[in-house]
């Protein structure tokens, strides 16, 4: 791992990403296609990419409903989808 790389956990799985990667992108890189399931159980992922639609919301370090498209990955971050 180089200095501009860092590691986060997505649903317990370790993912290495470049510094400057947002959490939504780390989720995609972890091979998880969605961030949440809707009221009727449909899988949903990032839509607007700019903090408006709230589809990408996940649990980040115990904080629920975080907009994963607006939050940069930090070393050791714990991300949980379908929180």
């Amino acid at each position: 791992m180089t200095t501009d790389q860092l590691q986060v956990r997505v649903n317990g799985r370790l993912v290495t990403v470049l510094a400057g990667t947002v959490v939504a992108a780390a989720i995609a890189r972890a091979g998880v296609a969605w961030s949440r399931h809707s009221v009727i159980g449909q899988p949903r992922g990032a839509l607007c990419g700019m903090g408006v639609c709230m589809e990408c919301r996940v649990m980040i370090d115990g904080q629920p409903q975080a907009r994963s498209c607006l939050i940069l990955c930090v070393e050791g971050m714990e991300v949980v989808t379908d929180e």
């Binding site: 947002v22 919301r57 409903q65």
Partner: protein, 434 residues
Amino acid sequence: MNDSAFDVVVVGGGPAGLGAACAAAESGSAVGLLDDTPWLGGQIWRGQELKPANREARRWLTRFGDSGATLLRGASVVAAPHPGLLLAEQNQRPCQVRWQRLILATGARELFLPFPGWTLPGIMGPGGLLALAKHGWPVNGRRVLLAGSGPLLLAAAESLSRQGANVVSILEQAPWRKVMAFGLALAAHHKLWQGIQLKLRLLGVPYCCGAWPIRAEGNDQVRRVTLTDGQRTWVEECDLFACGFGLVPNVELPLALGCELAAGFVRVDSRQATSVPHVYAAGEPTGIAGAGSALVQGLIAGYAAAGQAAKAEALFAERDGWHRFRAALARAFALRLELKTLAADDTLLCRCEDVSLGHARQFNDWRDAKLQSRCGMGACQGRVCGAAAKVILGWEAVSVRPPVLPALVSSLISQPQPRPEQSSSDPRASSKRP
């Protein structure tokens, strides 16, 4: 609670906000700029702060850095409880920001229209995918299909190709003759449009006008999209489907402050002043015209707010030139009627509360639908389905209640009451209107 006060507060760090902050700060005002993202530059210049590639963006980011303005990064405005005060959240903590003059540069979001399958993961806005790709979303080697409307489709395709995406095709809903006329009119002033088209031709990406999506399919993510030109239909396979039908202005905060709208945009006078004293607006909330227009509007608003009337006036002609561009853009990429009937009765309109179009359309208007079906009452507060309902059902679907974004309970209970000693510094009490 963090409390700060400025002569001029700017909301939004895109071209309009940067222009406004620079103009006001360079004129000697104490300026605070709030942006709800961790980076500066708005959506159009996203990523430029980390890796400057665009000369214009670099110039303005540097100028902002030298201007003396204070940046409140990652600060989302959640409410405007009374004139002169914004309530925001920064790093999950509430903060109060006091202003004498306020400049709203809240930008725009993409217009998403429902069609069967539009909620599948892997379907996102062209601008959204572009933004995420700049922040690590994997596009290299992925088959990306683009559809919808507007120049953003071409810009996104060009940038995504450069990042290694395999751009399958670009489908523009507007007919070829309108797009051509726009390109020709634009080419007289700007090389940008031609340049992008040329690059895409070199990359071998088909740009197909007068075509639009009618259905997307896949199990847990999008795999296939059915397209039509009104005569025939065909299917494209893809890993990512970037689909957006142009831009919608972010007018929630202006509305919360009481700013009047005209035809869906914030009404401003020649100095970019809104109908609310000491509140200005610049950029996309006043009309969709892109970064160049936003910059000059921002500068005018910044100079006007700082009391530099002559400097503001010197930019009026340039700004008015962009108004002509704005009108040409709206004409060329006007949405075709067929797009209103893409969604079936069982297609979801509201993605937050999973309300189908068939259910929502039983009601008389937006308010009725909200009260009785929860349409538009979820996490995005109708920002996605409200814009769609306006196109499909003709509903005036903008309504704002505080907080303008989902807020921490701690922010709401910290909401201050107007203080009596404020009346002397209350902007409304000032005799002259800037």
